[in-house]
Amino acid sequence: MRALVVDDSRTMRRIVAATLQDLGFEIAEAENGAAALALLESGLTFDLACVDWNMPQMDGLEFVSQVRTGNRWRAITLMMVTTESEQEQIVRALAAGAHEYLIKPFSPDALRDKLQLLGLLPAVAGGVA
């Protein structure tokens, strides 16, 4: 499975990517919504996009709106990963079409829990040592 990690902070991209990679995702990164959209338009497909809100060029809310307005990328699960934590911000994001919302700071377990909610975890992994 493939995930697109969109955040203008390289640090945060690495943190999110590390957990996703451990869960079996291949990762592509983009540093803002415009760059992320360009990746989609180039034909790359993704199962998941983790999207920051506040970014230059195009913010995460706009990116989510763009993805959900067209019919082209219906299979992408969109999760916002952001420090915006006011109730109405979460409502706005869900209204724009985000499927899930993870507030920073988050632990790797929290990200994993969200993926389980979304049905994106691999069926079985690990085993008895």
Partner: protein, 162 residues
């Protein structure tokens, strides 16, 4: 009305940021032991908040501490080389998460600016420090400050740095 955010709230936010992203557990970020003088800080990261309340959330520390923070966030071994721009990015992101959580405590929505990192705070546009929280992290000094540039309508004038 005094500062829009309580000291306990800033502490709680910081503790959760460090527990989740930096240390993997709580308890590594503690109040700075008061009588001990704080060392010089040579790096600062901050984000501005714009809205009915205008202010800034900042983080000041030493460059050694900043490098250790970056290593902890990035999962690098202690002492591993970490480029300056990555340290700056890491510190900026900490300020971003701090600022975002502080602003959520305000009664009115505030827009978060993008984080900035420099050797020191600019010093001419912060406004008034309404919360100053000196902390210790693995022996390093780390000071979190909430600055107020324009208080909420009806807030009392004056007030001290705590």
């Amino acid at each position: 009305m005094d500062a829009p955010v309580a000291e306990g709230e800033v502490l709680a936010i910081a503790a959760q940021i460090f527990a989740a992203l930096v240390d993997g557990e709580e308890g590594r970020l503690v109040p700075w032991p008061a009588p001990q003088p704080e060392p010089e800080h040579d790096v600062a990261a901050w984000v501005d908040v714009a809205g009915p309340w205008a202010g800034r959330a900042s983080l000041e520390t030493s460059s050694d501490a900043a490098a250790d923070l970056a290593r902890a966030l990035l999962g690098l071994a202690p002492g591993a080389p970490v480029p300056d721009d990555e340290v700056a990015d890491a510190l900026g992101e900490l300020a971003n998460v701090l600022g975002g959580n502080v602003k959520a405590l305000l009664p009115h929505y505030g827009a978060l600016g993008l984080p900035r990192v420099a050797g020191a705070l600019p010093g001419d546009d912060e406004g008034r420090a309404v919360r100053r929280v000196p902390l210790a992290w693995h022996g390093h000094s780390l000071v979190l400050t909430v600055w107020e540039r324009s208080p909420l309508a009806g807030a009392a004038d004056g007030g001290e740095v705590r």
